[in-house]
């Protein structure tokens, strides 16, 4: 049975999973969850995803949520197919990959997410926008990206010389920062090079305008 991805077409976390499916050439059926009408808050949905968040997958009856956990599962299950997105054998290589994954979650996501959410998501929810929140988040992010610039001055990607899931996770908020009015992703030389590289990946381009089913690959 084909993998089912339950989510919202423009949700950052749903796009993250769809992108990895495409990198790994995994056919999937996208099933829309209507966030606008609160479908994710219904008892039926919460029985499957108790935090009332998208996305989740149904892989032949196996339910999994948390986008990064889903991405890791798909990388592991389809090892050897499509792009390799994580090291699997060497303890130290794996450790540096886990370090990169943790960097993304602790030093990127809270600040990039806060900035993009303030300017781009709040208006969609008819909430007032506080530009001071945006500016403060960008200022904090800039300091973090100084460290990224040091790291990426020594290696091509965040975990080493090969692209991994840790790099791809940055795309969803990263492209939104430009739309939100910040040029921070083009300010520091190595960060600029790295971000330009990952955002040109066909798998990202395929989900930029929204997630749809992908049932075959040539």
């Amino acid at each position: 049975m084909v993998l089912k991805l339950y989510g919202a077409p423009f949700s950052t976390c749903t796009k993250r999973v769809a992108m990895v499916c495409i990198e790994k050439k995994i056919p999937y059926e996208f099933v829309n969850v209507d966030l606008a009408t609160g479908e994710h808050k219904t008892a039926v949905f919460k029985a499957i995803q108790p935090f009332a968040e998208v996305p989740y997958i149904d892989d032949d009856g196996f339910i999994l949520y948390e986008s990064r956990a889903i991405c890791r599962y798909l990388e592991e299950k389809y090892r050897g197919q499509g792009t390799e997105l994580a090291p699997h054998d060497d303890l130290n290589e794996i450790a540096l990959y886990e370090q990169a994954c943790s960097i993304e979650l602790c030093n990127w996501d809270p600040f990039a997410g806060e900035a993009a959410y303030e300017v781009l998501i709040r208006p969609l929810l008819k909430q007032p926008v506080d530009m001071k929140v945006f500016e403060k988040a960008i200022a904090k992010l800039s300091i973090k990206l100084d460290a990224y610039d040091v790291i990426l001055g020594k290696q091509a990607y965040l975990a080493g010389d090969n692209v991994t899931l840790a790099d791809l996770y940055h795309l969803t908020w990263g492209v939104m920062l430009g739309l939100a009015g910040s040029d921070i992703m083009t300010q520091k030389p190595n960060v600029t090079r790295w971000f330009k590289d990952i955002r040109a990946r066909p798998s990202w381009l395929a989900v930029t305008d929204g997630v749809t089913s992908r049932l075959s690959y040539e």
């Binding site: 108790p50 999994l64 948390e66 890791r72 592991e76 303890l91 370090q99 994954c101 943790s102 460290a147």
Partner: protein
């Protein structure tokens, strides 16, 4: 050469690593970093940890930072000694549910518990004012997330399944600061599943040994 842990004896993230080192019976030498004098922002420190954060380890020349990455590395490298802290099965679905739990901790517990801890415990220690509104908002969100924890822990013993893993231990260092900040959210309601889990993991000798400060351990 014995593992070197560079961190602050009372830092939440340094304690997180120390708990796992102790559970796995790995000797280590603590090199205290003086956060008050901003030693972590010195050029020497930044050369090893470019974000200027504690802790990092040096394991026979191998440098690693980010406390959860260090914990995963220790748990994997020393899988055959001490407390098992990773799923015993290498079954794909078991590992996936472990990763789901790891992600839950980082997305649904850490941001809110750490916000509460920073506002009510850390900031006052640094002579900064508590933002009560920020605390209340974080605390309220945490309460909602913990209601889901009760559902999960009502069906299985630990967050990833029926086996203890590093993910459960990750919660402790910020979690205990909730009580220190005046919240009984973790242990107040005996009929909630979270309480049994919380009391068990915070009673573990490895945590008790580091809760008041991390010290080097030459042997076990």
């Amino acid at each position: 050469m014995v593992l070197q842990l560079f961190g602050s004896p009372v830092s939440t993230c340094t304690k997180r690593v120390a708990v796992v080192l102790r559970e796995k019976k790995v000797p280590f030498e603590l090199h205290p970093i003086n956060l008050a004098s901003r030693e972590q922002k010195s050029p020497e420190y930044l050369a090893k940890q470019p974000f200027g954060q504690v802790p990092y380890i040096v394991d026979d020349g191998f440098v690693l930072y980010e406390s959860r990455a260090i914990c995963r590395y220790i748990a994997a490298k020393y899988a055959h000694q001490g407390t098992p802290l990773l799923p015993s099965s290498s079954d794909l679905k078991t590992i996936a549910l472990f990763e789901q739990a790891a992600s839950i901790e980082q997305n649904s517990f850490e941001p809110y518990a750490s916000k509460c801890g920073m506002e009510k415990v850390i900031f006052p220690r640094l002579g900064l004012t508590t933002n009560q509104e920020a605390y209340d908002q974080a605390h309220q969100t945490l309460d909602m997330k913990l209601a889901v924890y009760d559902q999960i822990l009502g069906k299985q013993k630990y967050l990833a399944g029926d086996e203890l893993t590093i993910v459960d231990l990750f919660h402790i260092s910020w979690g205990v600061l909730l009580k220190a900040g005046g919240s009984d959210i973790m242990e107040s309601k005996p009929n909630l599943a979270r309480q049994v889990w919380w009391i068990e993991i915070t009673s573990r000798p490895a945590w008790v040994a580091v809760k008041d400060g991390v010290q080097s351990v030459e042997k076990y």
